[in-house]
Symmetry: C2
Subunit: 302 residues, 2 copies
């Protein structure tokens, strides 16, 4: 996919490949195997060798759009991925979704036992905040504080954890579209939007750009979940790398169950337009990577 | 217990009572019931109405010793207590210690179910970092970053979570005293020492005071665990507010199993002397509350 706007053509595949490699290297360096009593092994298993790394790419793309501090943005990219990874480890546990397959591999509790999975998740959340707070000569303290502020709110009871609580409570319930949107804004959307805002917080931007990136992040976050719900019924487990058809099996309300498949597809398309419009109004010069990521979210097959 | 040093007598009971009340009020204000789908209720249940609040008191006493920022120290005091509370919630779960009694009440998973307990713990960890990162006009960004840095390291794989992994792996194993000390330095000691260092990070102090407080925090942290091991065999469940005799029942190595009861008591006394000496060498003028807390840790009955 090429997006050209005046100057040099923008090669999405090359941009993604270079940034993905840098993210993988950074994650491998920061999630160390030496943690005591096998904890490092389970943490690395949970994080490395898998995942689309959408959240890190959003952080890096947003940071580039505001010409931000690149040392800070790589730390933020990895931190948000660690929060995502820990949430998957805990979410897969028997007392939650009880899933055995993730990213094409056995889930962490299947491989290492429930106690180790619980601890690995806990330690990954702490490590996220550790990554955001190196010594101040590496990243300015003001950026460190902003990044921790954004991530803590997006991960906690007003964000991802709160959304998961609604998700738990909604099994077998009939939700309307507004309730479903609210659940997903918290459960998935908060961390995806936070990725964009963390990237932006690595630089400086005016109120207009800030508002535009918040709208972009919210649209991409919601689109991700709508497409997730679509893929849960249209793709197979091998393509997804996780168990397909789980939502219906667990009687969970989804966009497909509430809107139907066609209207869900239309809605994903509308959210892509919202994201594109927000970037166009942002006043930021370099938004091609952000645009390409939004398109990738909506057009993905797994 | 009064400690007088020249000027006004220091009334430990009055100091503790006033600070405990402030901590309880702050925790009740910050751990809000409005979190979605009952998550607020389980989070409040895990945190409020119980606990000695030793970690918050250490934060506040250390901050007073360095004449630090009191808004920052109250946030730090509550943040470290949230980390402690979340660790208890997860530690009590069936896949870990499988305990039903904590602070004289049913444990969180018994009361709210395992999934909610898992989420409540996760959300409490995030909330800890949220408390540390208010808008910068309330607490300077440099202090926010320092506090997050200290807490993330103490909570994570090089601290509490790492210690719990060693604890898990050590069940039924014969540890020697050095291995036991290393486990407890991480599992319990890291967060207790961190409490002291976070209080100190709310102000400014020279290298000598900084080193002295680190020694004090390490000694108090280890003493706490030695006394915990003693009380597990000498006190009853009602006095402890948690199940007594669990360590022997679970075949966990403890100071009592490794050193015996009398040498464990002697060791706790030695650690109190270490803590007292460190304060005496710190060059800090106002260390009476820190001294009183060290005495309380060693002389406690529950």
């Amino acid at each position: 996919m090429n997006v050209s706007r005046g100057g040099q053509p923008f090669l999405v595949a090359a941009w993604s490949a270079a940034h993905l490699e840098a993210v993988e290297q950074a994650l491998s360096r920061w999630v160390v195997a030496q943690a005591p009593a096998g904890l490092g092994d389970s943490m690395r298993y949970a994080v490395l060798d898998g995942g689309k790394r959408l959240r890190p790419l959003l952080v890096l793309a947003a940071c580039e759009a505001v010409h931000g501090n690149t040392a800070a943005s790589m730390r933020a990219a990895c931190a948000v991925e660690l929060i995502h990874a820990y949430s998957l480890v805990h979410d897969d546990m028997p007392c939650m979704d009880n899933d055995v397959l993730r990213r094409g591999k056995a889930t962490v509790h299947v491989k290492f036992g429930q106690a180790q999975a619980l601890l690995a998740g806990d330690a990954l959340q702490a490590l996220a905040f550790e990554l955001l707070t190196p010594e101040p000569d590496e990243v300015p303290a003001a950026i460190q504080a902003s990044l921790c502020r954004l991530l803590a709110r997006a991960a906690g009871h007003e964000g991802m954890a709160g959304g998961q609580a609604i998700d738990l409570a909604s099994i077998g319930q009939a939700l309307d579209e507004d309730q479903l949107r609210q659940m997903h804004r918290l459960k998935t959307g908060a961390l995806l939007q936070c990725s964009v805002l963390m990237g932006a917080a690595c630089g400086s931007l005016d109120a207009r750009a800030s508002a535009a990136l918040a709208v972009y992040g919210a649209a991409v976050g919601l689109a991700f979940q709508v497409v997730d719900d679509i893929l849960d019924v249209t793709a197979d487990s091998q393509t997804l790398g996780k168990t397909a058809g789980k939502d219906a099996q667990q009687d969970k309300p989804t966009y497909v169950s509430v809107l139907g498949l066609e209207r869900s597809r239309d809605y994903a398309g509308e959210l892509l337009v919202q994201a594109r419009d927000a970037l166009a109004c942002s006043g930021l010069a370099e938004t091609r990577a952000l645009l390409a990521l939004a398109e990738m979210v909506v057009n993905r097959h797994n």
